[in-house]
C-alpha cells in the first residue's frame, strides 16, 4: 500500500509496522508529528512526557520491561535527555530502544543550531540517518533490530527537510513482536562503578562489532557514476548532491553514520579522482575521513551552518550565482512573526514593559514578546531557564550592591518541563524574584499538545490536573496570585504587588490560547471612528488585527480579531466597543 508521508509520519508508521508497543516524547519542532501520529494507534501506548529527560527515562523503563520503545525529541531535547542517554548506552536494552533526534539546520523554530550526529560517538551508540520518508520508515525497523541484536540504544537522526517533507512510502501490515521477558540483572542494569567498569569494556567491544556490521549494512552503499568526482554524503544532503550531479559523480551514501564503515569508505575513496564530503552543519563525516588519512574537500568549500539547497551546491561547486530571475524581480519587505490576535501573552507583556524591569524570557510563543512594540523580553536561552536566570540576576544584583527586582516569564508547559526546580532553588536560597507564569492551558507553540496541567493525556484520557498554584505553594512560595491575562488592570496590580513583595513571588496569568478549539465566542472589538482621536495608543499593543491606514485612522480586521478587548482597555477615550459575544468567561 502506497502512502504520501512526511518523515515524521513515516517514523510513526515504522513504529507501528515494526512492533513497537511504547512511545514517549516532549513536543518540539520538527519532531512533534512523530508522537502525534503514533498516538492514534491502539496497538501502541504513547504519551507526552513533561520533558525529554523523562520521556527517555520512561522509554528506558519500557525497554527494560521488554517492549520495543521509541522516544522522539528535537535536537535541544537530546541535551536535556543526555544524562540518561549516556548511561543507557552502558546498560543496553531488553526490548529495542530507538531515540529519534530531529535536528533543525537553519533554526526555523529553535534557539540554536546543533549537529546531533556528534552524540553518537560521544555516547558511543550507533546512528542511522534516512534520506527520505521511505527510509525513515524502514530504518525504524533496522534500528529496532540493531538495538536488540547489539544490546544498545540506537539514535535515528533526521533533519527538518526529512521530518517535514512528504514522499512516497510503501507501507505494510504490522509485525507483532513478542514483548521480551524481564530478568533481573544488576550487573547489566545497575550502573554502580563496579558494574559500570565492566559495561564500559562491553561498550567498546560493541562499537567494534557495529563497525563490522556497518561495512555490510545494505543501506550503506556505493553508487558508481562518473569517477572523476566522488561524494560521501548522508541524509537530505544525499538528495541534493544527486539532484545537482546526477550521473556525473559517484556517491557513497552513508546511512549508518556511526560507527562508520572504514573499509567501504577507503574502497570508495580509492575508486574516485577527487573526493568530497557533502554534509550540512559540522564536518562530522569529513573529520572521520581525514582521520583515516584520506584527502577530502568538505567545509573549505561548503558552509558549516544552515540548511543546504541544490542551488547552494551549484553555486559552491560551479560558481553559478543564484540566477536572478529572468521573469520578474520583486523587492518585498520582511514581515517578522508576531503574537496572534487575542494572544493572552500580549497584555502581560504590555504591562511588564511599563514596569521597566529586566525580564528573563523562556521558550515558547512568548519568545515573540521581544518584538516591537512590546519589546518586553530581555533574554531567551532554553526551556525553563527563565526561573534560574531570574534568581541569579536578582541575587547577583543584590550581592553586588544594586538591589533590583527581576521578572521571569514562563509558559505552563515549559513550567512543568524545566521551571519547577528553579522555583525550588529560589525558595531554598532566599531569592526574591518574580515569576510570571503565562498559563495558556496548552503547549501552544508546537500545536496544542496536552501537558500535566491540562487534565487530559495525549491519548485523550481524563487525568488529574496538576495545578501550578498548588505546585509553587508546595515548593514554598508564599506569595501566589492568579489573574486573568485579559484583565489589564488585574495583571498590573498583581505585578506591582509582586515587585513590592520581599521574597519569591509567583503571578499566574491564566487565559487559554486564543487559537484553542471550543472557546467561548468573545465577540469582536470595533473602533468608533467618530470617537477615535487617532492617538494610536491601541497600536502599542502590537495586535495584528489592528490596521493602521495612511490617513492615520485605525480599523480592526474582524476576521482576525479574537475579542480579547485589550485594545479597548488601553484606548484613552473609550472609542473601542465590543460587539457580540457572551460574557467574558
Amino acid at each position: 500500500m502506497k502512502k504520501f508521508l512526511s518523515g515524521d509520519e513515516a517514523i510513526a508508521r515504522g513504529a507501528f509496522e515494526y512492533g513497537a508497543t511504547f512511545a514517549a516524547a516532549y513536543p518540539g519542532t520538527p519532531s512533534t508529528e512523530i508522537i502525534e501520529n503514533i498516538l492514534p494507534y491502539k496497538e501502541i501506548y504513547a504519551e507526552w512526557s513533561p520533558n525529554e529527560k523523562v520521556a527517555l527515562e520512561v522509554a528506558i523503563g519500557a525497554s527494560l520491561a521488554g517492549a520495543r520503545s521509541l522516544v522522539a525529541m528535537k535536537h535541544v531535547g537530546v541535551n536535556v535527555a543526555a544524562d540518561p542517554l549516556f548511561t543507557a548506552a552502558y546498560t543496553g536494552v531488553n526490548g529495542g530502544l530507538v531515540i529519534v533526534s530531529a535536528d533543525e539546520p537553519s533554526l526555523h523554530s529553535s534557539q540554536n543550531e546543533q549537529d546531533n550526529r556528534n552524540f553518537a560517538p560521544f555516547a558511543k551508540i550507533p546512528m542511522l540517518e534516512p534520506s527520505d520518508s521511505q527510509e525513515a520508515k524502514d530504518l525504524v525497523g533496522e534500528a529496532f533490530r540493531i538495538s536488540e541484536e547489539y544490546d544498545t540504544p540506537v539514535l535515528l537522526r533526521i533533519t527538518t527537510r526529512i521530518a517535514h517533507a512528504k514522499g512516497l512510502v510503501e507501507c505494510y501490515e504490522r509485525q507483532e513482536v513478542e514483548v521480551k521477558e524481564y530478568k533481573k540483572n544488576a550487573a547489566k542494569y545497575c550502573m554502580v562503578p563496579a558494574n559500570a567498569r565492566k559495561r564500559r569494556v562491553f561498550v567498546e567491544e560493541r562499537t567494534r562489532l557495529l563497525s563490522e556490521f556497518s561495512e555490510t549494512f545494505l543501506y550503506n552503499r556505493i553508487e558508481w557514476g562518473d569517477k572523476s568526482i566522488g561524494i560521501i554524503t548522508s541524509g537530505i544532503s544525499y538528495q541534493y548532491a544527486r539532484e545537482v550531479f546526477g550521473a556525473k559523480a559517484s556517491y557513497l551514501k552513508l546511512t549508518m553514520t556511526w560507527p562508520l564503515p572504514e573499509k567501504l569508505m577507503r574502497e570508495f575513496a580509492e575508486g574516485v579522482e577527487k573526493l568530497y564530503v557533502v554534509e550540512e552543519l559540522d564536518p562530522f563525516l569529513e573529520n572521520q575521513v581525514k582521520a583515516m588519512g584520506i584527502p577530502v574537500i568538505g567545509k573549505e568549500l561548503l558552509p558549516n551552518m544552515f540548511e543546504f539547497t541544490p542551488e547552494l551546491l551549484r553555486q559552491k561547486f560551479f560558481g553559478v550565482d543564484p540566477a536572478s530571475n529572468p521573469v520578474t524581480e520583486v523587492e518585498i519587505p520582511p514581515r517578522p512573526p508576531v503574537l496572534c490576535a487575542g494572544c493572552p501573552h500580549r497584555p502581560v507583556f504590555y504591562i511588564l514593559k511599563k514596569h521597566r524591569v529586566p525580564v528573563m524570557g523562556d521558550i515558547g510563543c512568548y519568545g515573540l514578546g521581544l518584538q516591537p512594540p512590546l519589546e518586553a523580553v530581555d533574554t531567551t536561552v532554553c526551556m525553563g531557564a527563565s526561573v534560574g536566570m531570574t534568581h541569579g540576576f536578582q541575587k547577583a544584583s543584590a550581592w553586588n550592591g544594586v538591589p533590583r527586582k527581576v521578572v521571569g516569564v514562563i509558559g505552563d508547559s515549559t513550567f512543568f518541563h524545566g521551571g519547577m526546580t528553579g522555583v525550588a532553588d529560589m525558595v531554598f536560597n532566599n531569592g526574591s524574584g518574580v515569576i510570571v507564569v503565562l498559563d495558556n492551558r496548552t503547549t501552544a507553540m508546537t500545536g496544542h499538545q496536552p501537558h500535566p496541567g491540562t487534565g487530559i493525556t495525549g491519548k485523550g484520557e481524563v487525568t488529574d490536573e496538576i495545578k501550578i498554584e498548588d505546585v509553587v505553594r508546595a515548593l514554598g512560595v508564599r506569595d501566589v496570585q492568579i489573574v486573568d491575562s485579559y484583565d489589564l488592570q488585574a495583571v498590573d496590580q498583581a505585578v506591582r504587588h509582586a515587585l513590592d513583595f520581599d521574597g519569591p513571588s509567583v503571578v499566574i496569568c491564566r487565559r487559554a490560547c486564543a487559537l484553542l478549539k471550543g472557546l467561548p465566542d468573545l465577540g469582536k472589538a470595533v473602533i468608533n471612528q467618530e470617537q477615535c482621536t487617532r492617538c494610536h495608543a491601541c497600536l502599542r499593543t502590537g495586535c495584528p488585527a489592528l490596521v493602521s491606514h495612511p490617513d492615520k485612522s485605525v480599523t480592526i480586521d474582524t476576521n482576525a480579531c479574537n475579542g480579547c478587548f485589550v485594545c479597548g482597555q488601553v484606548c484613552p477615550v473609550g472609542a473601542i466597543e465590543k460587539v457580540g459575544g457572551g460574557e467574558r468567561g
Partner: protein
Amino acid sequence: MSMRPVNIRFCGFGGQGIVLSAIIMGTAAVTRRNLYAVQTQSYGSEARGGQCQAELIISSQPINSPISERKDIIVALSQMALDRYLPSLREGGTLIYDTKLETNLHATSAATIPVPATETAISLGNQIAANMVVLGFLQESTQLITREDLVQVVRETVPAKFLELNLKAVEAGRQLAQGVKLEV
C-alpha cells in the same frame, strides 16, 4: 506514462489551505497514479494569517531533492505571496492567481491565468474552499491526476461537514478550466 518532473508552488496566507492543497495533489499522484511525488513547505513561527507556501514535485521517476529552484506552475492566493514567490517561476512557466488579489503582476513575462477561486468559493457558501477551486482547476488543466483521483483523495482528507462544499468547489474549478490546457 513517462513525464518530466512538474514543479508546482502553492502560496498564500496561512489558513487558506495552501499546504493541504499540495498534500492532496501529491497524495493523489502517489496513491492513485503510480507516480512519484515530494512535497515540502516553509514554516516556522508563522502565525495564522502569516505567509505560507508549499512545494510539490510530481514525476514518473523517483525524485531526489524536495526543494527545487524553478517552478513550472505557481498558484498564488495572496498578493503578498505572489510578490514573494513570483521570482521563482521558470521562464516559460505559468502563474495562476486568484482574481480576488489586488493583482500587481509585476509586468511578468510569464503566462498568467486569473482564476476567480475565492469569488467562486464565496458563491458556493464559504471562501475557505478557494483552494479546492484551484485544485479542480489544476486537475482539469494539467490532467496530472484524474477527476476521480482528486475527488477520492478530497473525500479521504477533508472533514465530513465541509465535504459537500469542497466537492462542489472542485467541480467549479474544473468548469473554470474547461478549454485551458497547461503543458506538463
